[in-house]
Symmetry: C2
Subunit: 363 residues, 2 copies
Amino acid sequence: MNKTPIKLSDGRQLTYYDTAAGGRRELADGRTLSAVNSTSELRCDPFLGAWVIYATHRQDRSYLPAAAECPLCPSRDGHRTEIPAADYEVVVFENRFPALTASPAAELANQSGQRRGLFTARPSAGSCEVVCYTSDHRESFAQLSHDRVSLVLEALIDRTAELAARPGVEQVYCFENRGREIGVTQPHPHGQIYAYPFVTPRTERVLASVHSYFRRTRRNLFDDVLAAERADGSRLVLAAQHWTAFVPHAAHWPYEIHCYPNRRVPDLASLSPDERHELADVQLDLLGRFSRLFPEPAPYIAAWHQAPVRRGRRHFALHLELFTVRRTSDKLKYLAGSESGMAAFASDVIPEAAARRLRELAR
Amino acid sequence: MNKTPIKLSDGRQLTYYDTAAGGRRELADGRTLSAVNSTSELRCDPFLGAWVIYATHRQDRSYLPAAAECPLCPSRDGHRTEIPAADYEVVVFENRFPALTASPAAELANQSGQRRGLFTARPSAGSCEVVCYTSDHRESFAQLSHDRVSLVLEALIDRTAELAARPGVEQVYCFENRGREIGVTQPHPHGQIYAYPFVTPRTERVLASVHSYFRRTRRNLFDDVLAAERADGSRLVLAAQHWTAFVPHAAHWPYEIHCYPNRRVPDLASLSPDERHELADVQLDLLGRFSRLFPEPAPYIAAWHQAPVRRGRRHFALHLELFTVRRTSDKLKYLAGSESGMAAFASDVIPEAAARRLRELAR
């Protein structure tokens, strides 16, 4: 893997990732962008114990631009984009309208937050990055080559390491939102990386369950769930040499797949070369099934759950959670009163039936 | 309030609520509906400690029917609906496609769930009801009369009492989803009541925070947050004699209002006559502001948080949470990778700015 870091004209970092050395990439951003005054603030909800991110500069970000105006395509004469080069393989850059921004180190010193009575707030830390998978505007992740998926994985691992080393970063989250139905504002195939200045509410909850299970049984909950799913079999989607994918017994979404390496590791960087190699096949296989579920490709969220940077690493198991918000070919699963108001999910699709359907869609 | 309970032809319960006695309502359902084989199952997610509801018979429920086919309008010649009467004020009936159903008492005996290793499942209990606010298909809650809002409130209180008394019911939740953007399948103005056979994940989390705060301070978190918001004032939307509405300091949604009675009570039934009377004004005021926020009425979720039926009642504070998923006149707030994947919310709107805007929209 060859890595070429450059600076965009407003000071943001961009990195080209190429399979071979020597493919020299454009270093200069031909645009003159004014610096964006990015500030974000964190506030803690005292009832949910959850940090909420406020980033008011984001209201003006571009929203479903026409293909000719795509800011993630390579630059060409008359259309300079976020990527200065005329072509690229994989490129990662800082979002111009990030939800999370890095604050000066002095502001971060008080990590516990400024308390004004019950109102806890603190300056933000962290970063939001965009990962372009291909220069081809019309491709999708499911259509990438095996080598390209491997290159994306190496880019995610490289970015995770750099972001995790930054002061104040507590968790690095690599994910892809795909489809207008879930609010994707840029149709160009891309993922995102959020470096959070806190352990996310979901991961906090999972770690609490894992620790409580360990205290009770001296066993690891991730290991036991994976073993139980493999033994039961009724919800398995695929069982490869190094990876297992299944619909969880209590799936929250109509079609939801959890994909684990058979050997528990805390993060992507800890995967062996063999595990990485097979992962590319597995990802293409699973996303291919999602694209065949309905007449049109399913909108999805693909979420890499990695261990937090500083704690819970010994017990956490890296895994991918993949789900679609579509429940039939023409109906979406909305998060309405029960889900959004009470976090009580109701699903129309029994997990065993979802798994059966996903098994049938193998190629 | 006058109450007329009847049975629909498939055995479901329907209740007419009228302001005056004597307005005799149609007792017979002229249709011949086959009984729906409603079964639902609960499964517990071992990582999130949350029950998920599966109700597979729901896939066929009607989805955005044409106005002439509306099942919530009064019956007329040639169009028999869910409501046999030719007119009504408020009517509540069991959903024909409920997410939650009552299981036989014998099945409920084992409330702790059948464990198959890590896979905990149990038969469901509970109920899903529909609350029609008006026979006028084109009205909205914000357009109801004060008397009608009061009648809706009395209906919710009556239904909450009946549902809370059923075996296996742990929490009764009254809410309204409004707007196609959040998945409302019936545009006729209506709310819903879910009687859950568990304390919802959100309420569990809130109770844990409230109990932990009490252990630390011997004080009530709801009381202290309400007092702090009233003292701060920058996020207040309205302060009436008996009710206070504010945008919470760490709001999760672009426009979110929490509305509390100034006297802490566990549920709607505990409100005094004066508090009930003023509540109707307050609800109409707040929903009126929501309807003026954007050129078109904002889609919203209005959620009544009542104390669980059997525990946490001493510390819980009844309140209404009202929020819209719209962030500007033409943009929605989607729950994508960060929110759906990690429960980490990012918002573009600072709560103080949202409150200022909502104060300006007073009539």
